[in-house]
Each structure stands twice: as structure tokens, then as C-alpha cells.
């Protein structure tokens, strides 16, 4: 019995290790007030975060230009109600259409 239990625990532990990169929470919790002009130039894309699911606030997540110094691309949380955010998204959408 004890050995069975131990085997079970080990099985679960291995299962965990093999699937460790499972579910992550990845939500904006706040907003940046504004971005400097130079940082704005480096925005290359965006996605929207909605508040109807696992995240509690709606947000716009800007993706910044990849730089060699950083392993991961930087992302920035912004308030979708802010004028500069709306403007930036509109200008990006326009660029995409043309």
C-alpha cells in the first residue's frame, strides 16, 4: 500500500515536471500613464485585454520592438480609455490598411 502511494506521488510529480510550462496568468494590473515619444516609435503591435474573463481590467498591451539586450520582448500595459492610446491604435490600424 505504502509503495503504491509513493508510486502515485512520483507519477504525479513527473507529470508535473513534464507539463510544468502549463497555465500562466498574464494580466495587466495597472496602466502606464504615458510613454515618451521615442518609446512610442518602438511600438510594433498591440493586443487587447478584456475584463470579461480571467483578467479584471481591460487594457491595451503594446508590444515593443525587439532589442538584442533583452531576451524577451517588452510589453507595456496602457489604458484603452486614454486619448494617446486610442490615437496610437488608430494610426497603427491606418498603417495596416494602407
Amino acid at each position: 500500500m505504502k509503495f503504491h502511494a509513493l508510486a502515485f506521488v512520483l507519477l504525479f510529480a513527473f507529470m508535473y515536471l513534464s507539463l510544468a510550462q502549463g497555465s500562466f496568468d498574464d494580466c495587466c494590473l495597472g496602466y502606464v500613464v504615458s510613454l515618451p515619444k521615442n518609446a512610442m516609435k518602438n511600438i510594433v503591435g498591440y493586443r487587447t485585454q478584456r475584463a470579461d474573463g480571467d483578467c479584471n481590467i481591460s487594457a491595451v498591451v503594446f508590444q515593443m520592438r525587439k532589442r538584442r539586450a533583452h531576451k524577451k520582448q517588452k510589453t507595456v500595459c496602457a489604458n484603452p480609455e486614454d486619448a494617446w492610446v486610442k490615437e496610437k491604435i488608430e494610426s497603427m490600424n491606418r498603417r495596416a490598411q494602407s
Partner: protein, 381 residues
């Protein structure tokens, strides 16, 4: 996950900080990323699954083969064991799915989350029923023969299960299997090549038709869980067991100290297991829409996870606290072990050990204590 604004700019271009508000916070807010599973939690959950499975199966097997359910408490104990068993059976599937980004799909998501909720509610409410039953047997002894009939307890169990299902309907409805927005692709502009080679991740979480509804629903569901799944049973148990202890201390029964100890153990274990988790859940619900730093949020989530594991542990302790504490139950259980031992040699027919008491004329309290132990409500150790 915050870093300075300068990092977002090209080094070649001089920074133009003069154009900014002097109060500008020199940090940029990134999405808060945290892994909501830890290896320790997986190990603890597996132990809970195994212990809970063994303990509750033994209770069900004992009741199924060797003990005809003949008292209210027996019916409740059997139902608690069934609820706990279903809970520990759903638990490894939930853990597996959370780790494999819900590979079992939408139906499994709804069923597992729903059954988790149903079993949580029914288990907690049945514990409250057991305390009420014992209260009637001991404190309201004169009425106990009228109120403690089998048909009553079956009806009450059905009501509890139906109620648990009704309360879980929002869970069934609003837990959805979906790709969260953070695994959505970015809308890309320009010629940037961005590595988006991550596989699509599914989650099984709340998903509401609108943000307004989400604001209400995300508070309403845990609030119901706190009220119906913890505070209601807690109040009922505290009231009933306090009255029982007072009555027992007045009684002149040599076994009363053991009975008091059992009652205290039941209450203390219940509070120790469920109070910490429910307090953290309360805090989390109250502060849900407040602004948190990522580090703080991570800490709250980690504490909640640990407390949740402790709360889950309760379903392994129920068989010990309620069933195996009883002398009669232990006798029946011993019988099973013997029978299993002798299986193949000879078959021992299930025999009823308990005799029905007909001594109604002893003093009220003495009688009620005897009745409760006769009925297997496990006060004798």
C-alpha cells in the same frame, strides 16, 4: 515586471524628459505573469487524492456491505463520503487539465468545475446536517424520535444535493474553455519578425458575456461560496456543538469526556482546515478590483493556494472524524478486514451488530447519549 522608461527607447536618441510631467513614474507596467502551479502543490494534492480516496471508499464499502443505514447520521455520513469521494476523484483530473492547458476540452471543463462546486457545497451542508442531527439527538432528546426518522434524512439529503446543484449553476454556466486574451496574437505592423511560436493555451476560467456582468459575477460566485459553503455550516456547527457540549458536561455519563473530545476535534479540524482559506478568499473577493502590485498579487495567490490545499485536506479527515471514531463503525470495518482476509476460505454473511435499544425509560440525557451512540453517530471512541 516593471522597468525604466529609458529601456524602451533607442540608446542613440537622446531622451527628452523635459516634455514630461515631473511626477511621471519612471517605470512601465507590464502584464503580471505568474505560474499558478507549484510542484509542492501537486504532491500535496496527490497525497490528498490518495488518502481521501482510500478513506472515503472504505466508508462507502462498509456502509454498502456490512451496515444497513439505519440512522439519520448513517445516511448523512454515507452522503458526505460520496461527496468527498467525488471531490477527490475530480481533483486529479482538474490538476492534470490545469497543467496541460485543459486538453480534455470544453465538456470536461464544465463538468469538472461544476462537480467540484456541487461536492463542495453538498459536503459542507451535510456536515451542518450531521451537527443538527446530533443536536436534536442530545439536546432536544424528547423530540428526537419524531424528528430523527430515516425518511426525513433521505429527504434532507435529496434537498441538500438539489440545493448544491442549484447553487452551482452559475459555475456550470460561466466557466468556459477558451483561449485567454494574453495568448492572442498581437496585431503586428511593420516588418518586425516576432517569435510567436507558443502553442495555443486554453484555460477553464470565468468568462462572462460582458465586462459589467463579469464585475458582478466574479464577486457573486465566491461570495456565495463563502456564505453557503462556509459561514452557514460554520454557524450551524458552532451553535449545535456548543449546545451539545453544554448538555454533555451536565450529564452524568462516564463517556462524556470522550464525547466532548470528539465534538471538539470535529469543530477544531473544521475551523483549522476551512477558516484560513475562506479568509484569504474573502480578502481576494473584496479587493478583486483594487490595484495590486504584481509581487503582492503573486503572494496573495500563493497564500491562497496553500490554504486551499489545507482546506482540501478536510475531505481526507472526514472519514476519521466522523466514521472511524465510532465504535460500531470500527467493528463493521474490522469485520470487512477479517472477511477480506478469509475470502476464498469461507464467506461470512453480513451480520448486523447493532441491536436496537428499547430502553426508553432511563433519564432523558443518559438515554439520548445512548441513543446517539446506538444510532452510530459516533460519539463513543
Amino acid at each position: 515586471m516593471n522597468f525604466s522608461v529609458e529601456e524602451l527607447m533607442n540608446e542613440s536618441v537622446p531622451t527628452e524628459m523635459t516634455t514630461f510631467d515631473p511626477n511621471f513614474p519612471y517605470e512601465v507596467i507590464e502584464p503580471c505573469t505568474f505560474d499558478n502551479h507549484h510542484s509542492v502543490q501537486i504532491v500535496v494534492h496527490s497525497i490528498i487524492c490518495i488518502l481521501g480516496f482510500v478513506g472515503n471508499s472504505l466508508v462507502i464499502v462498509t456502509y454498502a456491505f456490512y451496515k444497513r443505514t439505519k440512522s439519520m447520521t448513517d445516511v448523512y455520513l454515507l452522503n458526505v463520503a460520496v461527496a468527498d469521494l467525488l471531490f477527490v476523484l475530480a481533483l486529479p483530473l482538474i490538476v492534470y487539465n490545469e497543467l496541460s492547458s485543459w486538453s480534455m476540452g470544453r465538456v470536461a471543463c464544465k463538468l469538472l468545475r461544476g462537480s467540484y462546486s456541487v461536492n463542495l457545497y453538498s459536503g459542507m451542508l451535510l456536515l451542518a446536517c450531521i451537527s443538527t442531527d446530533r443536536y436534536i439527538a442530545i439536546v432536544q432528546a424528547r423530540r428526537s424520535f419524531r424528528l430523527r426518522s430515516l425518511s426525513y434524512s433521505r429527504v434532507i439529503c435529496v434537498i441538500v444535493w438539489v440545493f448544491a446543484i442549484l447553487v452551482s449553476i452559475p459555475t456550470f454556466c460561466f466557466y468556459e474553455w477558451y483561449e485567454p486574451s494574453h495568448s492572442n496574437e498581437y496585431y503586428m505592423f511593420g516588418d518586425e519578425d516576432i517569435d510567436m511560436d507558443e502553442p495555443s493555451q486554453y484555460v477553464c476560467e470565468f468568462k462572462f458575456p460582458s465586462s459589467e456582468m463579469a464585475q458582478k459575477g466574479k464577486v457573486a460566485v465566491p461570495s456565495t461560496q463563502l456564505a453557503v459553503g462556509f459561514f452557514l455550516p460554520l454557524l450551524v456547527m458552532i451553535f449545535c456543538y456548543t449546545a451539545i457540549i453544554v448538555t454533555l458536561l451536565k450529564a452524568k455519563n462516564f463517556q462524556r469526556h470522550k464525547a466532548v473530545r470528539v465534538v471538539l476535534a470535529v469543530v477544531v479540524v473544521f475551523i483549522a482546515c476551512h477558516l484560513p482559506y475562506n479568509l484569504v478568499l474573502l480578502y481576494d473577493t473584496v479587493t478583486m478590483f483594487e490595484h495590486f502590485e504584481c509581487e503582492d498579487l503573486k503572494m496573495v495567490q500563493t497564500v491562497m493556494m496553500v490554504m486551499q490545499s489545507i482546506a482540501y485536506l478536510h475531505c481526507c479527515l472526514n472519514p476519521v472524524l466522523y466514521a472511524f471514531v465510532g465504535v460500531k463503525f470500527r467493528n463493521h470495518f474490522r469485520r470487512i478486514c477479517q472477511d477480506l482476509w478469509c475470502l476464498g476460505k469461507r464467506y461470512i454473511a453480513p451480520r448486523r451488530f447493532s441491536r436496537v435499544t428499547s430502553e426508553f425509560y432511563v433519564s432523558t440525557i443518559r438515554r439520548s447519549v445512548d441513543v446517539s451512540s446506538e444510532n452510530g453517530s459516533s460519539f463513543t471512541m
